[in-house]
Symmetry: none
Subunit: 283 residues, 2 copies
DNA sequence: CTATTTTATGAAATTTTATTTCATAAAAAA
DNA sequence: TTTTTTATGAAATAAAATTTCATAAAATAG
């Protein structure tokens, strides 16, 4: 029941406010009606305001009420419960069985990015990046993978880019950031101290901050100008999150392809030239 | 196919007017995108008016476009029917559409790793890594991402590990590799010169070579002792492979979790201690 | 305790999306 | 031909989702 929408609502029930409890009670009791209801109808039935209905969807990690309805419809259409119980990774099975589970878990993680990512925020991000003079990425630990990937991709598109896993090096580069630049902060928890510090400095220097982070009330999520939310999936305190990289990379891929489509053509020819040149060198 | 929405559209196709055919063609080709589209978006894509989209929903016996979207979402949740047309990434669509496609493509790539990876080779790899004195990873370009991730993960498990994107640095380290060690070569094409050279040196020094590479007749695939094959998916010469990272990472995840399960427990306690210590430092 | 800030909420305003209406042009029938 | 019917898109309208703003309650600081 862990990875399902209804399961998640059920689990978090005790942490909800009174208003949120009203909404979730109605949803849990009348799940199959929700996909065809409007915010107004649900608000009335649950005895709350429409705004609270919208807020509830976001609270449980879904970008919009519309998406919530679609996701719920899909969930209810499949009878069997999803195997999104990530504890399966802890069992000691054969390598091939483990492999199948990893495939499953990773696919699921990517799929649920559809629920967390907000359409408008994505559009804002693409628009902001397109016009950036310089793009500074930062992420440590597992998130450094996505930061590195982003660095490579945007470098290839001809942007002035910057990223190093060393916090102090990055710190030394922040004085040269200005309001024409974009700072992309990547952190699953949104609470990593180093990431937050650089984010605040970037903002003070007038740069736009795009956060790729879990949808929650973390400082990073709150403080960012543009929020690209990753889904809150498993976080096994023993194994560590293996899926957050996948969701972060999916968002990086999207940004790359979008910008590529906007400015790609001319950059491409130059890139192709460079590649051809390398090939002749190697001969 | 009969009772389904898509089936019905398909059956009635010949009785449709020109405008209706346009709408149904788009729907049949991009069914999974419809639930998150607006009338306006679909109208634009199909090259018809919004009114015609609404009329189309009614034509096939659905009360409203909203209901149509919900029904379609439910229908698609049940059946597994994948699009493997990766050229979709080239079209210039809106950011959110691109995002949906990226999600789709990445999910598919991971899924098809199931077809390429050989059970016995995986078992051999796990067995070999388990007993390694030192593990040397190498990958450049896009494959450096997976190499870095592997480095981090196996370092966390207490292995002696090595990886640097700099070929010459790696070259300088190869004299210290011996028959107790494992060299993990990561390359999509299996033809990258630098990777091949290091692979050959490693083999000459008596190390076991594990290749994470596309399943084809590349030199790397042929020469490796153990082959962990990634699926041959899209390779757009313009955009570059966005999916190979996903498949490579899935394999790295698998190796990590397998080894973790074999030797994990004792390492964990030590790791937890280190984490706790960091937390006290930060306070 | 009191003042200040933060948080949660609903009402109202705004934006987005779906649907209907109406005018027009093409096809069919008289 | 002329009239009628039909199909369609543009524009208008209605409905729904989302954001903004004001306010009251709760938490925190002084």
């Amino acid at each position: 029941m862990a990875g399902t929408l209804l399961g998640r609502i059920n689990e978090q029930y005790n942490q909800f406010s009174e208003t949120e409890k009203k909404v979730s009670t109605y949803i849990l009791n009348h799940a199959e009606l929700i996909p065809n209801m409007t915010t107004n109808e649900l608000a009335t039935k649950a005895g709350v305001s429409e705004a609270s209905v919208i807020r509830f969807a976001k609270k449980i990690g879904i970008g919009s009420f519309k998406t919530f309805k679609i996701s719920l419809a899909q969930e209810l259409a499949v009878k069997e419960d999803y195997i999104t119980d990530f504890s399966i990774l802890q069992k000691k099975d054969s390598p091939y069985e483990m492999f199948q589970k990893v495939v499953h878990v990773n696919k699921n993680a990517i799929e649920s990015t559809m629920e967390s990512l907000d359409k408008k925020e994505l559009e804002k991000a693409v628009d902001t990046l397109k016009n950036a003079r310089k793009i500074v990425f930062f992420g440590i630990g597992g998130s450094s993978i996505a930061a590195t990937d982003a660095l490579n991709k945007f470098a290839k598109l001809g942007f002035e880019v910057e990223f190093n896993t060393d916090f102090h090096y990055m710190l030394s580069r922040m004085p040269f950031v200005n309001e024409l630049d974009v700072f992309v902060a990547i952190s699953m928890s949104g609470e990593t101290k180093d990431v937050l510090e650089l984010t605040r400095i970037a903002q003070k220097k007038g740069a736009k901050v795009i956060a790729i982070t879990n949808m929650n009330k973390s400082p990073l999520y709150k403080e960012a100008d543009i929020r690209l939310a990753t889904p809150v999936v498993e976080k096994d305190f023993r194994i560590g999150s293996i899926t957050s990289r996948m969701t972060q990379l999916t968002i990086v891929d999207t940004l790359y392809i979008c910008i590529f489509n906007l400015i790609g053509e001319k950059v491409l020819d130059e890139y192709q030239e460079a590649r051809d040149y390398v090939i002749t060198l190697r001969r």
